[in-house]
Amino acid sequence: MACEQMASKERLGQFDAYLDGELTSAEASALAAHLRGCATCAADVLGRVQLKRAVQLAGRRYSPSAEFRNKIEKSVSAKPRRESGWAWNILAVPALSLLVLSVVVSLYVSRESGRRQRVYSELADLHVAALASGTPVDVVSTDRHTVKPWFQGRIPFTFSLPELQGTNFTLLGGRVTYLEQTPGAHLIYQIRKHEISVFIFQDRGEETASLASGPTHAASFSMENWTQNGLRYFVVGDVNGDDIQSLSRLLQEAH
């Protein structure tokens, strides 16, 4: 093989990870730069791309019958709803002693301030990391009717996105993100060439109560956060507070 890079096992292992979107943006950029200048490696990667596509096409082979779908739908419909706020039930147990409660509360209060800062910093990091990434969004679309369904099955809740016609905001797309090991939606909007991140997570009441709703600042980013219909929203961007507020209002009024 003419290319020394290609002879390296690490490099070859990277080719698949690169195509599977599993490299960091720095690794992906370095590999892309190499591929632009190396015909041998580029041809190898092309072969792998074709193999991936061939399996994607061939793999989507079977569809369930309408009868079978109806049967399963009937068997799972109208079942009791699952309360996601399971932690509330724990707090509601009357037998929980005041002593235990007071210990929990005092620990909680002492951690509150540090936790709030950590969450805000983590959100700022997620915002910056997404924008710095070669693929900031996994679903690329300005259409809310495309972006919203994409999250089905990827996160354990649904949400509404606003109509943006007549506003200066544009939806760029979305990706699944994680905050404190909890999955959520990360949407990226643009206004006057500035990107704003909107994060939506389930509001696990007892954990997010310390995050007082309202505007704040972290690492020079403007932020807004609130809860609505059991979801916790965070809006983060390096734009002025008015833009953050405008987008927040649109999201709050979305149906």
Binding site: D20, L46, G47, Y62, K79, G153, P156, F157
Partner: protein, 182 residues
């Protein structure tokens, strides 16, 4: 603006599980290689998942959870026990060899029609077939595959690499008229 005292969200099993129906069926059909068995497997999966939904921890990956139930049900079925061969997880250097003189490989895959790739996928051992389907058709991340299959991330990467290699070898055999299964 509303406060944290708002109602906590309620999510039904149906709302979470039905969007996955088509892909779970496709996966089941690939595993079982039989329509009736696939339907039984999907029905068993939904039934088990519905019963276990109260223990499902919201915030963890629901899709991986459903796939895991389906796969475990398959493994404990008669067909699953027969077809799930053990594979050696040792990575050998062969797995990381270049994609076989890239240009002929590209031509090979271009010429391989969809039926041929489908036949080769059937010929692959189940552990290879399933990981390729989860990655390429399910578009799962390595982490999600690791959760679904219950294997470490490193094993996901090495098994995927070996599965792709095996697929290339089988495709080449088919093209050359060999067509020997694995």
């Amino acid at each position: 603006m509303k406060g944290p005292e708002d109602r906590v969200p309620v999510v039904t099993f149906e709302e979470l599980a039905m969007p996955l129906f088509d892909q779970l069926y496709n996966f089941a059909r690939w595993l079982t290689q039989d329509t009736a068995d696939a339907e039984d497997l999907v029905q068993e999966t939904y039934s088990k998942a519905l019963r276990g939904f109260s223990s499902f921890r919201l915030g963890t990956n629901f899709r991986a959870w459903m796939y895991r139930i389906l796969r475990n049900s398959f493994l404990s079925s008669r067909t699953g026990l027969k077809t799930m061969v053990a594979i050696d997880e040792e990575t050998d250097d062969e797995d990381l060899l270049p994609a076989e003189n890239a240009t002929p490989e590209s031509i090979l895959i271009e010429q391989a029609n969809r039926e041929m790739v489908q036949q080769v996928l059937v010929d692959l051992p189940v552990p290879f077939r399933e990981i390729l389907l989860l990655c390429e058709v399910g578009e799962m991340s390595y982490q999600e595959i690791a959760e679904t299959l219950g294997i470490p991330l490193g094993t996901v990467m090495s098994r995927l690499s070996r599965a792709r290699k095996a697929l290339r070898v089988l495709l080449r055999q088919k093209r050359q008229g060999g067509g020997h299964g694995m």
